[in-house]
Subunit: 175 residues, 2 copies
């Protein structure tokens, strides 16, 4: 693995074509493509994606976004944190530690991280030192939030009683 | 289909056991179970779920939450809207129109609806009159937001140029 490194992906037609190999190709990628075509973003400007190339092939990617403290409802004290999503390794390149390498790359910013993994990957995230966030209806809806915290950071947890109460009031509103 | 109706699901041990048949069983359900066990919610109080029973069997469910106008970044004018998630029909009860019935039930509140479907179900949502929301990085991250609007409501769209600009600035912050 000595030549393998995680790098920032640049927005251009090759990257956007490479993205089509990944299962989670969707709205976000199509929006980037439209912005590029309409010259709303410059070719080779930085994307929110990081990835691993083996030769000329993009074999793994993830999106990483630094979210401002003012939107932080996960950590204590409230602070800037990273949202990590679309972590994916192409099937023929799995079981080589590339996923782990990507997550370790994200951790080195030394900011708390929040992700919303598929249920069947919970075990991987736990191995990576993440933990399931305490579920909060209004914040999480259908999400399965997992968080990682560097030294000195704790989870922000609302007292369960007020949480249940709020939930109940909100449900009444939905009637 | 004359006896089939959508009803509010009540939080109790039977409902929570029924939920285990659904693929998206996770954090949210376990949190409800803990709240029930710890008497933080009363047995048979209303859950955020609606569902369809055939006899004694829960065959379909969805979660529906009325979100306040102050969190609305999807609609114009900003207003209260419904977040719909975990719509699911048990495999042996599919192709009978139950999913459609659930979505029609949600529409009858006459509020805009936002959902985040799996990519492979986009076609279903389009048939239901939903449309893909314009992708916005900070709002949507890895989501695939689909929205439905009653008469008189339009999508709230940021001007694409400022969106691209903001995106770029935020990316720089992530470095």
């Amino acid at each position: 693995m000595d030549k393998v490194k995680v790098e920032r992906l640049l927005i251009n037609y090759k990257t956007l074509e490479d993205f089509k190999q990944f299962q989670a190709y969707g709205n976000q990628e199509e929006s980037m493509l439209r912005d590029l075509e309409n010259e709303l973003v410059e070719e080779n400007s930085e994307s929110p994606f990081y990835g691993i190339y083996i030769g000329n092939t993009l074999v793994a990617r993830m999106s990483l976004y630094r979210r401002s403290k003012k939107y932080d409802h996960y950590f204590n004290p409230p602070q800037d944190y990273l949202v990590l999503w679309k972590l994916e390794v192409l099937p023929e390149y799995r079981d080589r530690g590339y996923g782990k390498l990507m997550v370790e790359f994200a951790k080195q910013f030394n900011l708390p991280i929040k992700t919303n993994p598929k249920l069947e990957t919970n075990e991987f995230w736990e191995k990576m030192g993440f933990e399931a966030a305490s579920y909060n209806l209004e914040r999480d809806f259908g999400e399965n939030p997992y968080i990682w915290m560097p030294e000195g950071v704790r989870e922000a947890v609302q007292p369960p009683v007020s949480r249940a109460k709020e939930q109940h009031e909100d449900e009444e509103k939905a009637n």
